[in-house]
């Protein structure tokens, strides 16, 4: 069964082409893709409000059980990119805020109401969140998205 792609590949491809290699300074989006994408899919920033991204980036030292902290410059660049493209950011899509009150700061995309409605099937015991979270966190297992390819998550020193 074919599922919809979350984001078109064109912008990232264009950014990669225009960068012409690693010699040039990385854009905030590239820094996000490299650093955050080393461990998990670089989730589209529009899937959370900016306040959520701020809280997540502020807590990278204890990030879902691991130390994911970065240097100050990379941290700032990533937060800028995430906030600009967040659901309520200037470049984001506010339809993902459906059912999120201003007082809510969801810390997981899987806590977002839109996600839970669309993925109700995955929320059955043992499949979605909870023990099966690894599958729910890997959007690319079902969706055709950037950063899902084998080896694209190369990480480590």
């Amino acid at each position: 069964m074919t599922r919809p792609a979350l984001l078109p590949a064109a912008p990232l491809l264009a950014a990669l082409l225009l960068s012409g290699g690693t010699a040039l300074a990385a854009t905030p989006q590239q820094t996000y893709a490299t650093q955050c994408g080393a461990c998990h899919m670089a989730y589209p920033p529009t899937l959370l409000p900016a306040r959520s991204w701020k809280a997540i980036v502020a807590g990278l030292r204890h990030h879902f059980g691991e130390d994911a902290s970065l240097g100050r410059r990379d941290t700032a660049a990533i937060l800028t990119y995430l906030a600009d493209n967040a659901a309520d950011g200037p470049l984001g899509n506010s339809r993902f805020l459906m059912g999120v009150s201003p007082g809510m700061t969801p810390m997981r995309i899987t806590d977002m109401p839109f996600w839970r409605v669309i993925h109700a099937r995955l929320l059955r015991p043992g499949i979605g969140t909870g023990p099966g979270i690894r599958k729910a966190a890997a959007c690319n297992l079902c969706h055709n998205v950037n950063g899902g390819g084998e080896g694209s998550g190369e990480s480590g020193g």
Binding site: G37, H40, R134, L141, G151, G153, S155, G157
Partner: protein, 145 residues
């Protein structure tokens, strides 16, 4: 003139490929030796009797399940598998290229990357910063694989 997107992309690719030819292939062995040299100097500072790094100690460090490890990351080998020539997998499902230098020659050649990952993964698995001796042993083990 409006350049078709595909042509523009091909030109960009070609120009970056040409630029790539002009740059010499990175000398990974020398870069890794420089990083090891740095850790050796640190290890000697900590212990004047330091004789050199050990493959066996690096292997033991990689396979150990330290008592205080964070539950999500009980050992290095939890994500990297017990054979560093294998590809590993992060908890979120991403592939980690092999740590073994024979399989991933660019391993341990970029100081900033080495620093970043030791700082974080030592904190996750060992709940502290690793010593220069431990880091040197680890790299020496991976370079032997």
């Amino acid at each position: 003139m409006k350049l078709p997107i595909r042509l523009a992309a091909a030109l960009l690719l070609a120009s970056s490929a040409a630029a790539g030819v002009a740059v010499a292939t990175p000398d990974y062995a020398a870069q890794r030796a420089a990083i090891l040299g740095h850790y050796a100097a640190e290890a000697r500072k900590a212990d004047p009797a330091f004789k050199g790094f050990s493959v066996a100690a690096g292997r033991a460090f990689f396979l150990a399940h330290p008592a205080g490890a964070r539950p999500a990351t009980p050992s290095c080998s939890y994500c990297h598998t017990t054979d560093p020539r294998n590809r590993g997998r992060t908890r979120a499902g991403k592939v980690i290229l092999p740590m073994a230098v024979s399989r991933t020659p660019s391993r341990f050649t970029k100081p900033s990357k080495v620093r970043l990952w030791f700082r974080r993964t030592c904190q996750s698995v060992y709940r502290r910063q690793c010593t220069a001796l431990e880091k040197g042993n680890y790299i020496t083990f991976m370079a032997s694989q």
